[in-house]
Structure formats: structure tokens, C-alpha cells
Symmetry: C2
Subunit: 211 residues, 2 copies
């Protein structure tokens, strides 16, 4: 089983590395980071680069695709080379997935039209422009399309997906191995739970690319 994780300039690192850390440990998984060019790809803050080991052209039939998000997703919405690749590989994937605003790329590629999906909470409304139904859920399965909410939610998505791919016991093993027993010291991880004025501040100051 080949898992391809897409990188592009100014992606959000945890969007990619969260699900990677789980899914790459499924027995028989072969995981590959892909981008338009091989070599280092810088993240949204510019302080971390992950290495793409293969070009998009070199990876033509992955079983699983993971598309992260991040501020760099905006220019990719018009990158026909990436969108074409997503459409091409989606024809034979078992699972096509995204984390955070990566779902807007799946939407722009026309892959999740008329389906239910999620995204970063600040980006959720923009799914509608692509005839995608936004949900407030953290992980959404709709057919073979799996979308996760913001950044850290890719870990939850990956465990759920591991269960579908390799069974509950493997998923539990990987949860135990990565000691994923979350104990956040605050309870502010969603717009429903965070202080209201903080949510409003973000809503007021975030000029979303698709707005």
C-alpha cells in the first residue's frame, strides 16, 4: 500500500506529519512525500522544511493520498498541475484524504462535489462555493473521501483510517505506540469551546483566501 503525502510551499507541517506518524507505521505501508519538485519544501512560517522525495510525475498510482493545508493552499487552488495530478491519482486511490484547508484543494479539483466534508474552522464556509457541504465534525468520511478539520485533527483522522485499512487492533497499537492519550491543559480547541472574544478576533482578522 503506497501512501502519498503532498507538499507545497507554505503548507502547515503538523497537517502532514500528524497523519504521517500514524499511517506510515501500518504494516506494509510505503509512505512517500511528493511535490512538484523533489527537495526541501518550506512550511508556512518558513522555519521548517520537509523533503519531498518524489515528484508528482513519479507517483502515479498511490493507494492513499493525503493533502495538507496551510496558507500556501491558496495559490495551489489555481495550480492546474497539482489539481490535474489529484484528479488523475484519485481515479485509482482507495482513500483520498485531506487535513485542514487541504479539503479546499480536493474541492477545487472537483473531487468532493456534493459530498460532506470538513476543513479548518475558519475555512469551513468556503467549501460551499465548490458545492461541498461543510460539517462541524472533526473527521468526515464520505465514500472514499476523508477530510479532517484544522491542523491537529489529522491524527484523529489517521487513527480512524488505520482502523478501516488495517483493523481496530492495528489502530490501537499505533495509538499506544505514539502514546496518543491527549490531555490538553486548556479546553479551547474549537470555536465552540474557546473564549468567544478570541474566536471573534480570529474571524475578524483572518482574511481567507477564498473570501
Amino acid at each position: 500500500m503506497q501512501i502519498a503525502i503532498v507538499l507545497f510551499d507554505r503548507f502547515t507541517a503538523l497537517d502532514a506529519v500528524g497523519p504521517y506518524e500514524i499511517l506510515s507505521r501500518i504494516p506494509d505501508a510505503e509512505t512517500v512525500f511528493v511535490a512538484e519538485r523533489t527537495g526541501p519544501v518550506r512550511n508556512d512560517t518558513g522555519t521548517l522544511a520537509l523533503v519531498a522525495d518524489k515528484t508528482l510525475d513519479e507517483v502515479t498510482r498511490p493507494d492513499v493520498v493525503i493533502v495538507p493545508g496551510g496558507p500556501g493552499q491558496t495559490p495551489q487552488m489555481e495550480n492546474e498541475r497539482l489539481l490535474d495530478w489529484l484528479r488523475a491519482v484519485d481515479a485509482t486511490t482507495t482513500w483520498t484524504t485531506s487535513v485542514c484547508t487541504g479539503s479546499l484543494l480536493l474541492a477545487a479539483a472537483g473531487l468532493i462535489k456534493d459530498r460532506r466534508a470538513t476543513s479548518h474552522w475558519l475555512a469551513l464556509p468556503y467549501l460551499k462555493r465548490f458545492d461541498v457541504e461543510p460539517t462541524g465534525e472533526r473527521v468526515v468520511f464520505d465514500g472514499k473521501y476523508v477530510t479532517a478539520a484544522g491542523v491537529s485533527s489529522g491524527i484523529d483522522m489517521a487513527l480512524a483510517l488505520t482502523g478501516r485499512i488495517a483493523g481496530d487492533r492495528t489502530a490501537q497499537s499505533l495509538q499506544l505506540l505514539t502514546e496518543y492519550d491527549p490531555q490538553p491543559p486548556y479546553d479551547a480547541g474549537s470555536p465552540q469551546k474557546a473564549p468567544a472574544d478570541l474566536v471573534e478576533e480570529y474571524r475578524a482578522t483572518t482574511r481567507h483566501p477564498q473570501a
Copy 2:
């Protein structure tokens, strides 16, 4: 405030990227990935490389140090160059921290002797060999030393540390921005919660480097 995240061959990616994604977003934080040599450093499965932008020699007075773990921690236990660097920078850090088996490197450097600390659940007993008191907690603060349990626990550590560094509101902001509202689909994230036979299987098959 400079935050240095240490990389070495066969580190575990999420150990580093989890806390990175939170701490690097603290206003005025300057985050840098450091290693003995600059350039790509491969993780434990060999399928992901993160780029070290500075050598250890180039980063002499970080305010915060983060040491990840992973199978590659074992040979580092005898890498005097790294241990010397840890001792040298620790003299002026505000916070010296680790995730997963990274705490064994802090222990080997003699930095947490007679202190309480945590580590990956499979590695906990080995802290005692360095006169460190292992605890079952997910995140342990002892003076300026902060240790986190296995892999994913670095996210919780980073949020707690953000609270100490920049206040509760900044920590809540970053939790909201990274949408850290964990909803694991299984409840197997600790040896207390996972199926007992799975825990035993790991205990029986993991030959820990320090054993």
C-alpha cells in the same frame, strides 16, 4: 526568544513537529532546527527528512531547547558532542525540554539528575539508571526542565509551556488555531487504557537500547 529543536538520525518526526507547531507560533519566537550538520536529517522509518538549518555550533544561546526521541536516541547517548552541547546551552536556557525518549538524552547529559521526569512508556524504567525519578504523568515540570511522554504528548507539553511563557490567552489562541480538540476514535493511548495483551506484546518485543 530563540527555540532550538534538535535533530539526529532516526528521530521520531512527531516528537519534534508536535511542539514545533505550537511553540513556533508564539509571538516573537524564532525557531530553528539544529543538528551536527546542516541539511536533511532522516527520521526513524527513513521515509521523511526534516532540514536542519543550523549546526549545533551555530546555536549557542537558545532560550528554549527541545530534544525529541526515537530509536536514533540510543547511539546519541554516547555522542559526547551532542551531550556537551546540551550541557553548554542548558547553562543559559529558560526551559530545557524533551519529548519521548529525548528525556534519556537529558538524563545522559546529567541535566535532570534527582529530578522527576517522564518518557515514552516503554522507556520509563531506564530513567532510574541516571538517578532520575520516572513519573507516569504525560507532562512533567521540574524547575526549568519539562519532559513529555511518548510522541504525541509533545503537543500537550507545548501548550502548557506556552502558558508559562506567554500566558493563558496565547496558549488558548494556539490551541484554537491548531484546532486541538482531540477526539481519538479509540481509547488505547496509554498502557493503562490499551488492551492488556497489546501492552504485553510491546513490552515483550521491545528490546530497549538502555536495557
